[in-house]
């Protein structure tokens, strides 16, 4: 990410389109991706909280 520039973080799974939104168990790969997004969201918020407001 670029310092001082507000950037969106959009988290999503690499789910085949025909399974998107369906009631089901996530595959092992999807569970690993979901876990990774949890970490990335936390890092993103931590980074925002540690950024001093613009003067």
């Amino acid at each position: 990410m670029t310092e001082g520039v507000e950037q969106e973080l959009h988290v999503k799974l690499d789910t085949p389109p025909h399974l998107a939104g369906k009631v089901r168990m996530l595959s092992i790969e999807e569970q690993a991706q979901l876990l990774a997004t949890k970490v990335s969201i936390g890092d993103y918020v931590d980074r925002i909280l540690k950024t001093k407001p613009h003067p």
Partner: protein, 235 residues
């Protein structure tokens, strides 16, 4: 789907709710946050998180050194970014650690679903935690409370305690998770003869239902109708 783990509620405190449903659901950032937009979730939480609820969380739980744990899940519209942003933000405000090793392993499509669909399609979780820790659960919404019940069970099964929970929004009457003895007795008078069937199907007895679930089931006229309504819902 896998069966969830639940435990009886004991004296579990009411869930602390930050904002009304109308404020949350009409917020311009809500749809994007619900579909994985993390900046939108930050904007939503920054705008609607309640200072008085944060103060209550600190007053009730700070002395027990809790860790925050969000319901992190894939939903019908994508990954819901709100709970984890909320957990990380509360963690920053209260200087509490937050847990990042637990995720929901199924898609349950509870949004807009009726009570029987929520009971039939229960959230299950994976990920390990160390024993002997104290947790506060975080979610964006409380309806019947089943998802929080199952996340609590996932933690308690590993030897840690869940002290309480906080959500961004939900109706006031959903905040009480522990059913009263009177409510449970009423449910058992009406449907007690299917409690063993219920335990086989879901892996827990009526004493592990939330107060909202108990009320919902108690409103169904007959036990055979309870079974029929559940059987109508596909997994």
């Amino acid at each position: 789907m896998d069966q969830p783990t639940r435990f009886p509620w004991g004296d579990f405190p009411d869930v602390l709710i930050h904002a009304s449903e109308s404020l949350v659901k009409n917020h311009h950032a809500y749809p994007a946050a619900k579909a994985g937009g993390t900046l939108a979730a930050v904007e939503l939480i920054a705008g609607l998180m309640s200072a008085s609820v944060l103060s209550d969380l600190r007053a009730y739980f700070d002395h027990r050194h809790p860790r925050l744990l969000s319901v992190h899940a894939e939903e019908s519209g994508g990954i819901n970014a709100i709970p984890e942003v909320m957990a990380a933000t509360i963690a920053g405000a209260l200087k509490w650690p937050y847990e990042r090793q637990i995720v929901q392993t199924n898609v349950v499509s509870h949004t807009g679903a009726n009570g029987y669909a929520r009971l039939q399609r229960q959230a299950v979780f994976s990920g390990t935690v160390a024993a002997g820790l104290h947790y506060i659960l975080v979610d964006d919404f409380i309806g019947q409370g089943g998802t929080l019940a199952n996340l609590r069970g996932h933690i308690m099964a590993q030897g840690s305690q869940v002290l309480g929970a906080t959500v961004l929004t939900g109706k006031d009457y959903s905040a009480t998770l522990a059913a009263t003895d009177l409510q449970l007795a009423g449910l058992r008078r009406k449907h007690g003869h299917i409690e063993d069937w219920w335990r086989q199907r879901f892996g827990f007895g009526f004493d592990c239902l939330t107060a909202s679930e108990v009320r919902y089931l108690s409103r169904t006229a007959t036990s055979s109708r309870v079974i029929e309504r559940l059987e109508e819902i596909s997994d």
